[in-house]
Symmetry: C2
Subunit: 423 residues, 2 copies
């Protein structure tokens, strides 16, 4: 990639280089939500940019004046591409730049990320969670069915998934109240009620959709790119004890529905193109509607950081408890979208489709505590001597994700949540 300078300074190691330009929503105190694009430590205020007429040749400026991205998502790929190029041009300093923004009072177009609260930038229509990491599905099979085949018979034939709860998708930093519910203690015939004692995380990446399809029609893998806008980090918090008791025969429900945390920035697929790779081989070859040409794997580094309250109080930095990568996912986004719609299901702009837990092939590259501690048998030992199998009150989990090449970095920010005691 050519080196491009932005007139907004980008500190070394920032997630938000000019190659990224992710979209989010923010609010200043007592102001309504606005859309913005992260650059370095700043946010470029899209409301201000659009109001100055700098996007009027691309689409109706009202697309940028609301508090969510849904109208922009509905515009489709050509508008996304032209907007991205324009924003880059307005920010770059070389001769390919567009000098109009710099000629104005730039302070009116930028806001410091420290001074705002980030908000969920999409109204989510439907939220689907897949189960697309073969390592994760295999690990869970080994833990729960130690004497059987770890993978179920259908797993290699279709991207298993289910509908999750849209109303409780929250932004980075939102506290997560420990859920209460029914669980059945080992050896007991009847359930008991109380706060979950096996509160877990799931490290995932989700894609956010653009234009929808008409109900009754499908989106083939060859057209998936037109319908996928970008990616976010997703933590699919999971209460394993509630889930274990409830999930037969209709799947996870209250074990998952209490909270799902996403990163504040949606990174456009266009920004991630330099990091696209061929997907892993699939055996057996999937049915034709699931065959996807092109480069649908993305080399995105992922990590999970844990900091307990005791660590925080003692000034001990968060401990990275897992490092993995999105690129090994068995089922890719194009296949997931083709599968969701093959029965005629309608998608809408702003749907969220999460990957499922992303686990690598080693013990320290798993995306959930149930795998990292092997169902609680091997506690994680933290720098201050604390041990963790599942999460305790006051624990903070932060997911991070980024692509890096040479001197630039394209990152997602973080998806953090701290566990509050059960009510």
């Amino acid at each position: 990639m050519p080196h491009i300078e932005s007139w907004v300074p980008v500190p070394a190691g920032s997630d938000f280089s000019i190659y990224n330009l992710p979209y989010g929503a923010f609010s200043r105190p007592v102001s309504p939500a606005r859309l913005g694009i992260a650059i370095g430590t700043q946010i470029l205020d899209l409301h201000a940019v659009a109001s100055a007429g700098l996007l009027d040749d691309i689409c109706d400026r009202r697309v940028f004046l609301g508090g969510t991205l849904n109208a922009f998502l509905a515009e489709g790929r050509e508008v996304w591409r032209r907007t991205r190029l324009r924003i880059a041009a307005l920010l770059r300093t070389d001769e390919a730049g567009d000098p109009r923004l710099r000629a104005l009072d730039t302070a009116k177009f930028l806001v410091n990320q420290r001074d705002v609260r980030m908000l969920l930038p999409i109204e989510i229509g439907d939220y689907v969670d897949f189960y697309s990491s073969i390592e994760h599905a295999t690990n869970l099979g080994r833990i729960f069915r130690p004497n059987g085949e770890p993978l179920m018979e259908n797993w290699r034939h279709l991207p298993i998934g289910y509908h999750g709860r849209a109303s409780t998708v929250v932004i980075d930093g939102t506290p997560v109240v420990r859920p209460s519910g029914q669980r059945r203690p080992p050896g007991s015939s009847a359930p008991v009620f109380g706060p979950s004692t096996r509160l877990d995380i799931e490290l995932e990446i989700g894609f956010v959709t653009g234009p929808g399809n008409a109900m009754g029609t499908a989106i083939p893998t060859s057209r998936a790119r037109e319908h996928i806008f970008g990616l976010v980090l997703v933590n699919d918090w999971s209460a394993r004890d509630i889930q274990a008791w409830e999930y037969q025969p209709l799947g996870p429900f209250l074990g998952k529905s209490f909270a799902t945390t996403v990163s504040p920035w949606i990174v456009p697929l266009d920004a991630l193109d330099p990091f696209a790779l061929p997907s892993p081989a699939q055996d057996p070859q999937p049915l034709p509607y699931l065959q996807a040409g092109g480069r649908w794997a993305y080399d995105i580094n992922l990590e999970v950081d844990l900091q307990t309250k005791r660590m925080r109080d003692a000034g001990i930095a968060p401990q990275t408890i897992s490092r993995t990568n999105y690129k090994e996912l068995y089922w890719n986004m194009a296949q997931q979208l083709a599968h969701v719609t093959i029965n005629g299901t309608a998608i809408r702009p702003g749907d969220l489709y999460a990957s499922g837990t992303i686990s690598g092939s080693t013990a320290d590259s798993c995306g959930s505590l149930i795998e990292l501690t092997w169902n609680g048998e091997r506690p994680i030992v933290l720098p201050d001597g604390e041990r963790r199998t599942f999460l305790e009150d006051g624990d903070t989990i932060a997911l991070r994700g980024w692509c890096a090449a040479g001197d630039f970095r394209i990152g997602f920010g973080s998806a953090r949540g701290t566990i509050s005691p059960a009510r």
Copy 2:
């Protein structure tokens, strides 16, 4: 109940007596959606009523000027109650009536149901489908696990449910395209792709929510009534072959997500009060958070009508293939809502929570074809000699539901759908 006359004529046997006053959304050709209330063969135009100032002392008239009920649902029970009393007063002819509407040009406030298209009256946030009929769950257990206990161990302890697809909830009369997908033929190790060959229905009733709760808090059964606005008929179309292959371990997904049909009218719970009954006994007694006092069963007659294309072409009336009643449902609405929120899940105005298939205890009172035909072993014989196990292209299913007492009736209209060939 006292006899009340409406100045809008209500034909004998109409679903829409003055005791009903259900809410819906309609559009005339080239006009935007409006809210309305069914009365006899007419619709009282709520946009017109509100614009005439006849509801201004109850709440901001803008609540009634949009095309969906969500703002009204958010207002809460006192506004619902006062609006209902006002509409009844504006329509009744006795001395308890409010003469203001009759004094105006009433033609401007009424539209014939024949002249409009009905639209989905709510923007559905989350759609949940329960599994709350013990007869249905037992029947499916007997069919799929003939040598085991028909009911799973958790079934009597909690209202099993899962999240369904919100984007494909459609209104009465919308064609249903036969879904395609993967299924595994008996005896085969690999799946095949094609149109579903086991397309089924599920006769259900759903409740629509009013004001939401804050995330992290629960709605106890004692407060459920404040959060439940009214009921609709629901047909949870199901492709049994797709469902059977996909549903382990995360539950139904593409076997259900292609379409869910609801009746056009939301019948307020206040209208159904005269038909409320104590819920059936539960054994074992549920955990305290699921104990619900009050009368949460409703005596709603339900039927499923089937008309094939050949019957339609020959002028043969639809055949009623099942008659049942909502009142026997094991888990009631208050319990369902308390369960959904016990882990802190947020509900929102306009969520839809369906009961799950409602089956009675006899062979002809089941709410699905898989039960009525015992997994296809006992075809239904139709008046023209045709046989049905599962649905064929051109078949029309109509669900109907009503309460009846003396000279009045409170009905839901119908939830109809005709199967179009797979694309």
